[in-house]
Amino acid sequence: MNTLSQSLSTTWRRPWFWAYVASMAAFAATLLLTEGRGGGELLSAAFTFAAFSAIVGIGQMFIITLGPGNVDLSIPATMTLAGTLSLKFMGGDASLILPGLAVALGVGFGAGVFNYLLIRLLRIPPIIATLSASFIYQSIAIWSNRGLRIKPPQALSDFATGATLGIPNVALVGIAIAVLAWFILERSLYGRWISAIGQNMRAARLSGIPVQLMFASTFIGAAVLAGLTGYLLASFSGGAALNMGAEYLLISIAVVVIGGSSIAGGNSNVPGIWGGALLMFLIVSMLNSYGLGAGVRLIMTGVIIITIVAAAAGKEGSR
């Protein structure tokens, strides 16, 4: 109880606090326009779409925690490939929903292993290894299905677009994954170890941490999450497209950093991912609602990102 009240009183100093404040501000600003109408609708849309960003963002966060230069740029391609292959496999047959999920996760697993092997065996910096790998995944997706959009089974599509107790199903999945990730990061040995690796890889190795196991499992885990997101997104939007997920490249990184994780690695937090994901959706919605053109919208998005990071850094600095 004591720790609870303590953590409440220091909430405003938490790195993720500002992402939520900004999200609420964007939400309020949008509702101002409609004089309060459509709040529930907007919130439900925000949670739906933020869930996709949050799931890939969590994978990206674990990778970023591993230290400077670690990032996965193959997330969009992995999403596309997993979506394409799993929907092609299911071919609209409702009885294949779970095997289809396994296909998607398997694609993610394979991509993660491939990414890791490039990094490990060929010692290619992750940023470039995953970028190069993403081109290959894209080619496989093109080759396997030539961009044809195959519809998901109706039941799956209903699940992805549906809601339980008023909360969108994909958001429930996203929240469950976030809770799990929080536990892993804050309470488990694995979380402690990857944070150590992110701070000082050599020292981590010399402290007996199985460094490569951590690298492998993190890259694989992130790719599996990307595969899952591809599966969900393709089911949600009525089929996989070759260019689906393209925007998740920047978003997956943005939600991590807006959420207050240190981009230098070693220091991450999960609640911020959801804050960042909600914010990224709500900002765009707000600017769209105010009828601002693409140019102004882009500029505002950039300015808001920088402002939040500056605000969060200021608070942290004064500690």
Partner: protein, 311 residues
């Protein structure tokens, strides 16, 4: 010792790739052919140098691509129509870069986020300036970029000049050494009474300057601009720096390597065209060749680590 290995890698990968291209397409082995192979690499090389300035001080710039696009839009519009305003805008954008460098240090912001944010800002400005592709390259740039010097094509001359000048600036000059020192050990530099904010502003300002050069050159080649023209430069420039023997941290960069890295990347694309793959696999092959070229690093890093040991 280490430095020599660093530069050997880009030299060899470029050499091997060039040989392969010549083998596949002997016509490339001419003044005309070399110019075609390399002229679009000049703006990439400049963008890579810009990225290198940032990586040199342990940061990374995710906005290079949109910044170069922005500069291209300014060049094809303002710089062409009313040069004075154009120059002022470009000057202001360099100052903005410098200010960002100072801000990033003073408030201890993660550069990757700030530049990610800036990439939206530059992109937005570019869309505002040129909502649809167009504009025209100022005549003098067009002339400069299409000039045909005797014996060696312009693209090669320009690359050599860029490499030599930035090498002098970064590796030989007192200021360049100090900037690399910031990447190597910021605390030590600060302890010796240098203002890190100023130095970072300097490094970012240089990045902005080379970004401007890149955008201007690009318009000289393409004759017009659009808001998305150089988005790819962000990743290309990072890959170029790494390929050129640079590292993400510790101020270990090589301007000559960066230019060679940019040329290699440009050449890799040509190599693939000459291979005539099925369109399905053309995209994947670009990834594969990047992997291949970078895998060569392995041999060198093995050597280098065998040398340095755990020291």
């Amino acid at each position: 010792m280490n430095g020599k290995f660093r530069i050997l890698l880009p030299v060899i990968s470029l050499g091997v790739l060039l040989a392969a291209v010549f083998y596949l397409q002997p016509r490339a082995m001419s003044y005309f052919g070399l110019n075609l192979l390399f002229n679009l690499a000049v703006p990439i090389a400049l963008a890579t140098i810009a990225q290198m300035m940032i990586i040199m001080v342990n940061d990374i710039d995710l906005s290079v691509g949109t910044f170069v696009s922005f500069v291209a839009c300014v060049t094809a519009t303002f710089l062409n129509d009313s040069p004075l305003i154009g120059v002022l805008i470009l000057g202001a954008s360099i100052l903005t870069y410098a200010a960002l460098g100072a801000l990033i240090h003073l408030r201890q912001l993660p550069a990757i986020v700030v530049t990610l944010g800036m990439s939206f800002v530059w992109g937005g400005l570019a869309v505002l300036i040129l909502p649809s592709p167009g504009g025209a390259a100022p005549g003098w740039i067009r002339t400069l970029m299409t000039v045909k010097p005797p014996l060696v094509p312009m693209a090669i001359v320009a690359s050599v000049l860029i490499a030599a000048l930035t090498h002098l600036l970064i590796m030989r000059s007192a200021t360049g050494t100090l900037l690399r020192g910031v990447g190597g050990n910021t605390k030590a530099v600060a302890r010796s009474g240098w203002e890190i904010a100023k130095l970072k502003a300097g490094a970012y300002g240089l990045a902005g300057f080379f970004g401007v050069l890149s955008g201007v050159c690009l318009v000289g080649l393409t004759t017009s601009a659009d808001a998305n023209i150089a988005l790819r430069y962000t990743l290309l420039s990072i890959a170029g720096v790494i390929l050129g023997g640079g590292e993400f941290t510790g101020g270990r960069v090589s301007p000559v390597g960066a230019v060679l890295g940019a040329l290699t990347l440009a050449l890799a694309g040509s190599f693939l065209s000459f291979m005539r793959l099925s369109p399905d696999w053309q995209i994947g092959a670009q990834g594969a060749i990047l992997i291949l070229v970078l895998a060569v690093r392995l041999i060198f890093s093995r050597k280098a680590s065998g040398q340095g040991g755990a020291a």
